[in-house]
């Protein structure tokens, strides 16, 4: 098994408050890794360390190392912009830009300076197809993205992330604002994506973690309690705390 991320002794702080404690973890390449745990345990903090989105929060700092393909993404000579382009992210609440559907998907290409209109049309179509949204929007690409339903908006956000051809996609509870039908669509999509991408998904939904992932990490109070194959976590966890959590005895 080849790993995409290798995390060593990662601590994260919001000001004085420590949100992650000495995390060691290896996230496999081209597989789906689920992150579960009770609310406030640091799942979002952790996943946002993987593409340095937390840099935007004043007072946030990390120590320890996060290697991506052998390179520490927190070392001085790393280009954050490049990291975020290669490691895409989909957020909990769909957050399309207040622009047309087309412009939402094309945005990542435009900021890289792409001018070739034909190539851009192709990539937009291809990304929308991968995100299983093309059929629903192909006749209204130039209408506002804000008129789409929540589930469609979330798939648009996925298409937008795919358009810049990332290697990894991070999902932070992508379905928590969606109904079961829309959720099923996103899950199918994630299953498709793992053929080409490394996927990390934070979820509150045990069944979802069990359905979509190969590996699962269980966090509690800022610590990684257990990290293993998903079957193992859900059938025969090593830790008593994990077992209590997945059987719903707390959390």
């Amino acid at each position: 098994m080849e790993s995409a991320f290798k995390i060593e002794g990662l601590n994260a702080f919001y000001g004085e408050k420590q949100a992650l404690k000495a995390i060691d973890m290896e996230i496999p390449r081209k597989m789906v890794t689920a992150i579960i745990g009770p609310s406030g345990c640091g799942k979002s903090t952790f996943i946002r360390c993987l593409n340095r989105m937390n840099d935007l929060i004043p007072g946030f700092r990390v120590s320890g190392r996060v290697f991506y393909q052998g390179k520490d993404i927190y070392s001085k000579d790393v280009d954050v912009i490049e990291i975020r382009r290669r490691i895409g992210m989909v957020f909990q609440k769909p957050n399309p830009f207040p622009k047309s559907i087309y412009e939402n998907v094309a945005y990542g290409l435009r900021i890289q300076g792409m001018r070739d209109r034909k190539r851009m049309d192709e990539i937009v179509e291809e990304s929308l197809k991968k995100a299983a949204l093309w059929e629903e929007v192909k006749d209204r690409l130039h209408t506002s993205a804000l008129n789409l339903s929540g589930g469609q908006q979330q798939r648009l956000c996925i298409a937008r992330a795919l358009a810049v051809k990332p290697e990894v996609i991070l999902f932070d509870e992508p379905c928590s604002a969606l109904d079961p039908v829309a959720t099923a669509k996103i899950e199918d999509l994630i299953d498709e994506l793992k053929r080409d991408y490394t996927v990390v998904i934070v979820t509150h939904n045990m069944q979802q973690a069990a359905r979509v992932s190969e590996f699962t990490g269980f966090f509690m109070l800022g610590e990684l309690v257990e990290f293993d194959r998903t079957e193992k976590i859900f059938t025969n966890p090593s830790s008593k705390v994990t077992e209590d959590y997945i059987t719903g005895r707390f959390g």
Binding site: R84, N95, F97, P98, I111, C157, A161, V164
Partner: protein, 297 residues
């Protein structure tokens, strides 16, 4: 008991609101009754004159247009730039804090103080004389704090999730601001700018202070003139350095004359000024309305 208190309070608030509207209506009706008969095409296209019946507002109208356009051209880029810097780039330190407090205070400084500043700085020190340029620069100083503050306000209303989405796709801070934040904030910024302009169009004190004339029978040189020979068009910045007058000053001048005829002229000019202001404010309200409808996240 509580019910009674509430009713009294509602009644008082209503009375206060109605009183405001009532006085405004009386004022408008009075002005319209005095001046409406004087409004005509001739009135708009004649120069001021010694004889009230022949006098018009051509030079103050054109002067006001010059001043407004230049003030907008100067204050918009500087104000928006400063707003972006303070909101998006400036660190949270004492220096920034000092600037912020000062801008907030400047917005409340009486306008005549800006006139004195303009007189000292533009008219005298920079030797721009009592020109259109001096007037526009002085009003630029006056509206700048308002534009800076409304820009910051508008930038702050752009949700963080939009910025996040942009950064997550590998955008730089500059790209995020120029391509996402600023367009989303633009209607709010424009609204603030227009309201600032509608304040500037009615300003009299600072322009009198810097020495705008009260009687002018010519116009600033047009920036573009068409000629009979090649290249058929000439551009000139001479107008910037010509003397000028504006509507409120003309009105001020007319009401201080003893003749009844000038009083009528003043009322007519006030109607024109009011229409100008109402148009600007309606535009601002329209933009705000469009903005609220289009931007719901």
């Amino acid at each position: 008991m509580r019910d009674l208190k509430e009713r009294v309070f509602v009644a008082l608030s209503l009375a206060a609101t109605l009183a405001g509207i009532l006085f405004l209506s009386i004022l408008i009706i009075d002005v319209v009754m005095d001046g409406a008969s004087r409004l005509s095409w001739d009135f708009l296209t004649s120069f001021p004159s010694r004889r009230p019946g022949k006098a018009g507002i051509l030079s103050p109208l054109v002067g006001s247009a010059w001043i407004m356009i230049l003030t907008a051209l100067f204050s918009f880029p500087v104000g928006v730039g400063a707003g972006i810097y303070l909101e998006e780039y400036a660190g949270k330190n004492r220096f920034t804090w000092l600037i912020e407090v000062n801008i907030a205070n400047l917005a409340g400084v009486p306008s005549i103080i800006y006139g004195l500043l303009g007189l000292g700085l533009f008219v005298r020190a920079l030797a721009l004389e009592r020109s259109v340029l001096s007037g526009a620069l002085t009003l630029t100083l006056l509206v700048l704090p308002i534009i800076i503050m409304s820009t910051r306000e508008a930038l702050r209303t752009v949700p963080f999730s939009i910025r996040e989405a942009s950064y997550a796709l590998g955008a730089t801070r500059w790209q995020t601001i120029i391509r996402q934040v600023l367009p989303a904030a633009l209607p709010g910024i424009l609204t603030g700018t227009i309201l600032a302009m509608s304040r500037a169009v009615g300003e009299t004190a600072p322009l009198i202070t810097i020495g705008a004339l009260t009687y002018i029978a010519f116009l600033p040189t047009w920036p573009i003139t068409f000629t009979g020979s090649f290249p058929f068009v000439e551009f000139s910045l001479q107008g910037l350095f010509d003397p000028f007058t504006v509507l409120p000053i003309q009105i001020f001048n007319w009401v201080s004359r003893p003749q009844k005829g000038f009083y009528t002229n003043a009322a007519a000019a006030i109607i024109v000024l009011l229409i100008f202001t109402i148009l600007l404010n309606s535009l601002a309200i329209y933009l705000r309305y469009r903005y609220q409808k289009r931007m719901r996240w």
